[in-house]
Symmetry: C2
Subunit: 647 residues, 2 copies
């Protein structure tokens, strides 16, 4: 084997969704989205009356469904309708990926019709926002703090890029480029421009995505402006509130920490406030860092990354424990049963992690991306693609189930678009290098320094860790192929065309760097043995004291009542989980379940007693664990991730 | 030994505080109240400006210190000042007991001066309430729901009785009888009377106390009226709100469950709402049941008793886990660190339990009275009598400490008056029977069926369970002496004048019934061995799962950082606590501490890590437990009642 010194650029960008054909584990989930979820989302938007708001041909609907109410019952400033554009945008984005997956003329016609509505809605100056055009005319750009105006624009930009890539149709892309140009004129540092930014971040990352798709670097500049402007003094939201005659102190969420504008972003060191907003901000910051090669911004993000992942993250990758602010509380405050851990927040963490890889492969980020994706995010979608978790607790008494819809319908299309776009999270490409971040049966068509490269993964991942990768090239090319070795894997082995490769010699930051002149036709065999892991939490996490969670490969496991009977908190595992066997659960798509020896406390005899001196009886049992993301897909019942442990 | 059939009446009433001289454990606490707390309470009332409100000779003070504020910052209907009369009343009541304990001319003069203020404040028609006379003239009896008007009257009635018993001075008693007569005219079923009752119960039990002290049976009738009227339809608080032009639905606490007026009291089966209110209501109901021999009311109370003590009570006797309503939540919701468990609520449970004994001795009630008194209530007062807990959590990270005062100063005088009145909780007397409910070094002067009886207890209780009781009589008399055998005691032994008595033959509902012709001069030796108890909670109490608490005699124990180092949750006891020894802690008034073998998880190595597959190391240690009520009397630090337990 020969090694090469290959000049490597350190700006990595993901492939388009349409550049990766996904099979296997994720393929089945994408099929469910294409076959079912995409149309369900459309139908539920129609049922909720959302299209009545967008379509200029229909009567202006009444303001309804107050989302937040004050203590005295009056509606607050925020109403779900003001962010419906964003939800519809994610429905379009999901439809785009579904249409790329499978032709569906009905879905395509319906999506085209929605796009036509936005096209007709667009004002002569390029402005597009159904709430402010139709429901609240004359009020545009007067309350960036509360009204999700740029947030809606951002999601529509993402939808436009996705629909263009999937279908080749430019109409929405053109609409959104015109709108982005309009925004670029309204916002900025020059006299007459507004020095503002959105209370709900999203437009920053969306502008980078739009810029990458269209080559419009001015969108990168605008994204950077929004990022750098955030939290500067005088505070824009104070100035803006005063301008509309409101008392800036009467902010429902009390503190600008809620929307991460309490400080300029480079001075922020604590992950705080509304979880989804935080993740989208950091994603946009990471995108800006990648596009501008700005390591100082990356350094600020590293502090936040450490803060989140070492003090504020559930083992599922869920984040934001509190319902009250849909976000963060104190360090190590990670209650299991009351966990909010919104699906959108885990999706957001997946997004941020993937963007932290924009400066180069690093297990630190890819491991968390995988952890959030396979657990706290994927749990948001039922296996058949028809039901959705909004909050993702790590324990349930049996009353928590996926919704068919939510009055704030952000999570259903968010997890659907993420699942359907999984291919774009699997790889990243820079000049001279291709990184494989996630494994899964798939074929990717990539371009590395001008050469077309096909990478075909054959694997049953995540059920086992054996991955065969074939390299296809139109002509020989020297580049680095970086293969991730997950942190959970203790002994990876690698063969290329049958030859053993010394993995220790070529590992850096958790990636095996294969620097060579590739000729095409090589077969790489990577084995990542999946051992059962007994995981404990930092003892500062009081909710998990004296408890263990089981992990295998990228998956966190849980016990369900359907397998183990009720009273899951009566189960006690040995501190060293012994005699573990794996089985396959047909009812869960041949998922790998784990069975271990356990004890069960007998709980009978407690009727009518609150305290007692009697010692509980223990009996031997065997308990079955299934992947957390699959819970509540069979008979409803209790669920528990952190199981009590003996010594 | 000869047994007699003695006719027993089943209406038991407590002795006056001045009928019992207390020494030993409680004597030291009463001395602290007499020497220190009583004057501290007075001084703090002065410092808070409370007397400025009562004294008609002073300028009317401004309304200040809004207690509750609405979301928009405006003051709500409730202000601390509206219940200051009640707090001052409890300060007077405490001073009464202190003056009975020890002469204190300065305290007596100051208390007489306060009483003079109320005397001068009293209106020609008998009405007395500083808030409505001076701050809100013209609004009396317009908002019984929120304004604590009858509640204030009740506490002043209690103070008047106490001050009369302690000092023989009638001025406040006369004022309050006139006020009670006025109330009796205003409220009632007759035309022109108001069919109302107070949003905060208290006047019901106070009227019974006033009636017992003065022989005024009309006060019993009025108490019964208030009890029976509660929760009847049309709902008085609805009618009252409409009459003052308010929307009845705009009730800050949303539901009348908050003040136990959601249903007529006989239909209530769940202990609900604000904890102190509930306890005071049930106390008043029990008093009415006793005075009217009304077993149907007692039957209703038994259902509520069972509901509270088998589903909603901390092991300390603390009740009301939530700060939001200062009260009850769901069954088995008993979080330890965030426990509200207000001192006043444990005092209230002590009061209710003592009044459930009004229909006869029963361990069911006396055990809980002792449990609440020695643990969740007594913890409210520092050993030196100078500082006060408002909330009594069962776990602390080291930041919870007793206050010198509270903006809602209800708890300090409430626990002080309760400690100082302990003698009246120790006994109850009916025709033909004397019951000893609590043990403690003391001398009681009682009257049983017209004969003067002196009972002298010599004991080191609660530090050990050996009690010698000498019976003193002016002449021989036949009566039943009922001695409680606490439920925590497994093998009581009894000797009378050296002769063994078969306790099993004479025990009923946890009391040893000694029916005989007493001649005086008998010595009773009762031994209640105190074994260490390892207690577990019903597994439905999730906060206590896998944990044990230690109890010895009436005391619940805890670990403190000062004895065991920090990280108390790293301690793990064996399921069977082994090798226990008792020691005496000089710094805590020679309290009995318990030391047991334990293991400690090593927690080093977790810096910067949130989850890990490493198994924790355990090392052997010895841990010291001290009585819960004594915690936070030495070096500040962590505290824990429910300690992790191994198998």
């Amino acid at each position: 084997m020969t090694s090469f010194e290959i000049p490597i650029a350190s700006s990595f960008r993901p492939p388009a969704v349409s550049d990766v054909d996904v099979r296997g584990f994720w393929g089945e989930r994408i099929d469910a989205v294409a076959d079912r979820t995409a149309m369900i989302l459309y139908d539920r938007c129609v049922a909720a009356g959302m299209l009545d708001q967008i379509d200029p041909a229909r009567p202006v609907p009444a303001v309804r469904m107050p989302f937040h109410t004050r203590a005295d019952g009056s509606p607050d400033t925020v109403n779900v309708q003001m962010f419906w554009d964003s939800d519809i945008a994610k429905v379009i984005e999901t439809a785009a990926y579904a249409l790329y997956r499978k032709a569906n003329p009905d879905l395509e016609a319906k999506t085209d019709a929605i796009i036509d509505m936005f096209h007709r809605l667009q004002q002569p100056d390029g402005y597009v926002n159904s709430w402010f055009i139709r429901m609240q005319p004359g009020k545009r750009w007067t309350n960036l703090r509360d009204c999700h105006e740029l947030y809606c624009a951002g999601h529509l930009m993402e939808a436009a890029v996705a629909y263009f890539h999937a279908t080749g149709k430019r109409k929405l892309l053109d609409v959104m480029c015109r709108y982005a140009d309009h925004i670029d004129g309204v916002f900025g540092p020059r006299p007459g421009q507004l020095p503002g930014y959105c209370g709900h971040e999203e437009v920053e990352l969306a502008l980078v995505r739009l810029g990458r798709a269209t080559g419009g670097r001015r969108y990168f500049d605008l994204a950077r402006f929004f990022v750098e402007q955030r939290g500067q003094q005088p505070h824009y939201f104070d100035v803006e509130a005063a301008a509309r005659g409101a008392d800036p102190k009467q902010f429902r969420h009390r503190t600008y920490e809620y929307n991460q504008s309490h400080l300029p972003v480079r001075q922020q060191t604590k992950v705080i406030g509304h979880a989804v907003r935080a993740m989208y901000l950091y994603s946009g910051m990471a995108d800006v860092a990648t596009e501008f090669g700005d390591d100082s911004l990356t350094d600020a993000l590293k502090i936040l990354w450490d803060d989140l992942t070492t003090k504020q993250m559930y083992i599922t990758g869920g984040i934001g424990p509190a319902a009250s602010n849909e976000g963060f509380t104190d360090y190590y405050d990670l209650p299991n049963e009351s966990a909010y851990a919104e699906t959108c927040a885990a999706v957001g963490l997946t997004m941020w992690a993937s963007r932290m890889l924009g400066r180069g492969p690093d297990r630190l980020y890819a491991d968390i991306m995988e952890q959030a994706l396979y657990n706290g995010a994927l749990s948001g979608l039922s296996t058949d693609g028809s039901r959705f978790f909004y909050d993702n607790p790590l324990e349930s008494r049996g009353t928590h189930h996926r919704w068919t819809w939510h009055r704030c319908p952000c999570c259903p299309p968010n997890i659907a678009r993420t699942v359907a776009a999984i291919g774009s999270y699997m790889y990243a490409v820079s000049a001279g290098q291709v990184a494989v971040h996630l494994y899964g049966d798939s074929t990717a068509r990539l371009d590395v320094s001008g050469t077309k490269l096909t990478l075909t993964q054959s694997t049953d991942y995540p059920w086992n860790g054996r991955i065969a990768i074939s390299v296809g090239l139109e002509k020989p090319a020297a580049f680095r192929l970086a293969l991730r070795v997950p942190g959970w894997c203790r002994r990876a082995t690698l063969f290329i065309d049958g030859e053993t490769v010394d993995v220790d010699a070529i590992e850096e930051r958790g990636y095996l760097r294969l620097d060579r002149l590739w000729r095409g036709g090589e077969t790489i065999l990577l084995d990542l043995p999946m051992e059962l892991r007994t995981l404990r939490a930092n003892p500062a996490v009081k909710a998990d004291l004296g408890r263990v969670a089981l992990g295998r490969g990228p998956l966190i496991y849980c016990v369900e009542e359907v397998d183990n009977g009720s009273g899951l908190n009566s189960l006690i595992l040995a501190g060293d989980v012994g005699n573990a066997t794996v089985t396959t659960v047909e009812q869960l798509g041949r998922a790998v379940a784990v069975e271990v020896d356990a004890k069960r406390e007998r709980w009978n005899g407690w009727e009518g007693k609150l305290y007692d001196a009697a010692k509980p009886m223990l009996e031997k049992t065997r308990s079955r664990f299934v992947p957390y993301h699959l819970w509540d897909n069979r008979a409803p019942g209790e669920m528990l991730v952190w199981v009590r442990a003996g010594e």
